[in-house]
């Protein structure tokens, strides 16, 4: 089976400072790949390259066999890529439903004219997609929070709404940037449950950047470890966790471990 997302030798630099150096990996359909590595290793930069916020100066990225290197974020999103952010990036003045509806923006067609006139397709489309969003809200158990600006909701809920918005995009690939950062064990478990149920229900391929090694070990089929912009290890969780270079650069030696 061919990879749904292929990152091939991408390099990125800011003002002479090399942030990524020939990073490559491939994501299998319906699988979950975790990227780990020290802060500043370039994990978020990889995400930003994949979704078009940054443009790598060499290498290529293919989504479902189609080259997306250097395309605009909006166009990459339309081709089936969604992401969540390390720091929340919700639309705080809108409610859950509108946030999820925004996730479906690229699946809809209503333009300004049709919207202003509220005719035919605009009206139908609005109803259909709203129904889909409510299904997703039920799946993620966010029903209690409908109708309030999401900026007012607790942090953990916001994180899940952001995840929901990414899922609502119905992407081929979903990028999760530290989905459980700042959560305690209980909240982490709820989020892990959400991720699992979405994978089961919708079969989405995901890439996750996360420091919570327990979560990573529990969910990921494959791990890529970055250090100073380079891939230092790739493989299944057990292999990577045991890799001496990974331990030296990221996990710390067992004596160091708390």
């Amino acid at each position: 089976m061919s990879a749904v997302l292929e990152v091939d030798g991408i390099s990125l630099s800011f003002g002479g400072l090399r942030v990524l150096n020939e990073v490559s990996f491939a994501l299998e359909p319906a699988s979950l790949l975790a990227i780990i590595g020290p802060n500043g290793a370039g994990k978020t930069s990889v995400f930003n390259c994949i979704n078009g916020v940054y443009r790598p100066f060499e290498g290529s990225i293919h989504l479902d066999g189609e080259e997306i290197t250097g395309a605009r974020p909006a166009s990459i999103a339309e081709r089936g890529l969604a992401r969540t952010f390390q720091n929340l990036a919700l639309f705080v003045n809108l409610d859950v439903v509108d946030n999820l509806m925004l996730g479906r923006h690229h699946l809809m067609k209503t333009g300004y004219w049709a919207g202003a006139l509220w005719v035919g397709r605009a009206k139908r489309e609005e109803h259909v997609h709203r129904a889909r969003c409510h299904e997703l809200i039920d799946l993620l158990e966010l029903g209690d929070h409908v109708g309030r600006p999401v900026g007012l909701l607790p942090y953990g809920v916001q994180k899940r709404i952001e995840f929901g918005r990414a899922v609502a995009m119905e992407p081929k690939v979903l990028l999760l940037d530290e989905p459980v950062a700042g959560m305690n064990v209980e909240e982490t478990e709820v989020m892990a449950g959400d991720i699992t149920s979405v994978r089961e229900e919708l079969g989405m391929a995901m890439i996750m950047v996360e420091h919570d090694m327990q979560l990573v070990m529990g969910l990921a089929e494959q791990i890529v470890c970055l250090s100073f912009g380079e891939v230092i290890a790739t493989g299944d969780p057990a292999t990577v966790a045991a890799d001496p270079e990974v331990i030296a650069a990221y996990l710390g030696t067992p004596e160091d471990a708390v």
């Binding site: 919700l90 925004l102 919207g115």
Partner: protein
């Protein structure tokens, strides 16, 4: 489940809308004074321009002090096509919208590069440049000396300049009142529809967090350009209607046009930033303000202890600190500051809060989180 898609969700909103329509129909029947008609036409013009500005600033978060430039462009375009060339009403209206809309679209790309304070200054630059062009493009604008808008057609299906319904003859001012408020009503409906559908949600997403919007597939650049064009077009139409009301146009000096822009911003601030009816409420509140001051100047007049003189003058040579006009200007500036300080969500926000507190009177819930204020510009 999709009940939340209805335009007027509550019974109160439906009654309010019906009352608003009734008010528009009835007002000219009750008021024949050209003056009060002129006041309400001017308020309608402010409402229309404010509606556009609210779409731009309130919903998309693009701060602008350039609205007066679009109003001017619309007014002159309407005068040129409608009065000089004698085009019929629908055509000069379309021309005014198109001209101002195109200039708006041309500003759009700047908005992509500049944010917040820088964008505000670019919008000020637009006012300066527009005034300069109008002052100097004699063949189009009449230059410094201005241009008459006499004889502009107000006729489409019915002639608003010479309106007669069921044998009742209306004055041109009354006709223009109907025309203006019909336009305001249609524009409000269009904006409300845009806001509750895909494009409007995209605008709000751009306002709240533009990078995230881009990443979920919203074409930020394209939407910003469109919304600048739309906002400009609405201001342009407002300018055209105002040209028909005033009958004469001058470019004035850039500084005074900047003040006009500020008035448009004040309209939406006082009405409610990021609300559909905010511009209308704000315009109806601020528009007649100087006239109300004039009307009630006796009641306002008290002695200022600091200098032991009455506040208002009742004639040029009598005692008093300031004239009614200056008082209403000062009142305007104070209202602007007070609203921003204590009621940044405007009159509409105040209304919502009152309704909400009436509803939950007696049952205070402690989980009602702190109200967040609308984000006019994410910066």
């Amino acid at each position: 489940m999709t009940d939340d898609l209805r335009l007027l969700r509550s019974a109160g909103a439906r009654i309010g809308a019906a009352l608003a329509v009734a008010a528009v129909v009835v007002t000219p029947l009750l008021i024949s004074s050209d003056f009060w008609m002129s006041v309400f036409i001017a308020a309608g013009v402010f409402a229309l321009g404010g509606l556009g500005l609210n779409l731009l600033t309130g919903y998309t978060g693009q701060a602008s002090l350039g609205q007066a430039a679009f109003v001017l462009i619309g007014a002159y375009t309407a005068a040129w096509f409608g009065a000089d060339k004698g085009w019929p009403m629908l055509l000069w209206m379309a021309a005014a919208m198109l001209a101002a809309g195109l200039v708006g679209a041309a500003i759009g790309p700047f908005a992509l590069r500049f944010k917040g304070n820088y964008l505000v200054v670019v919008s000020i630059a637009l006012v300066f440049v527009t005034v300069h062009v109008l002052q100097n493009w004699d063949s189009f604008s009449g230059g410094f000396n201005g241009k008459s808008v006499g004889g502009i057609s107000l006729s489409f299906l019915v002639d608003f300049g010479d309106l007669s319904i069921f044998g009742k003859q209306f004055t041109p001012e009354q006709g223009l009142f109907y025309l203006t408020w019909i336009v305001v009503g249609l524009a409000t409906l269009a904006v409300a529809n845009i806001i509750r559908t895909r494009p409007g949600r995209a605008l709000q997403a751009i306002r709240d967090r533009d990078v995230a919007a881009e990443v979920i597939g919203i074409r930020v650049a394209r939407n910003k350009v469109i919304v600048f064009a739309l906002s400009g077009a609405m201001a342009g139409l407002a300018g055209g209607l105002d040209a028909a009301r005033v009958g004469f146009l001058t470019p004035g000096v850039a500084e005074s046009q900047l003040l006009l822009s500020i008035r448009y911003v004040a309209v939406i601030v006082v009405g409610g930033v990021g609300t559909v009816v905010g511009a209308i409420v704000g315009a109806l509140f601020l528009g007649p303000l100087p006239e109300l001051v004039e009307e009630f100047s006796d009641k306002i007049n008290f002695t200022v202890p600091l200098v032991d003189q009455p506040l208002l003058k009742d004639s040029a040579t009598s005692e008093g600190i300031m004239s009614n006009a200056v008082f209403s200007e000062i009142l305007f500036s104070i209202l602007l500051v007070v609203f921003l300080m204590f009621q940044p969500r405007g009159l509409v926000g105040l209304w919502h809060r009152m309704v909400a507190s009436l509803k939950r009177r007696g049952t205070p819930t402690d989980d009602a989180g702190p109200d967040i204020e609308p984000v006019a510009t994410p910066h």
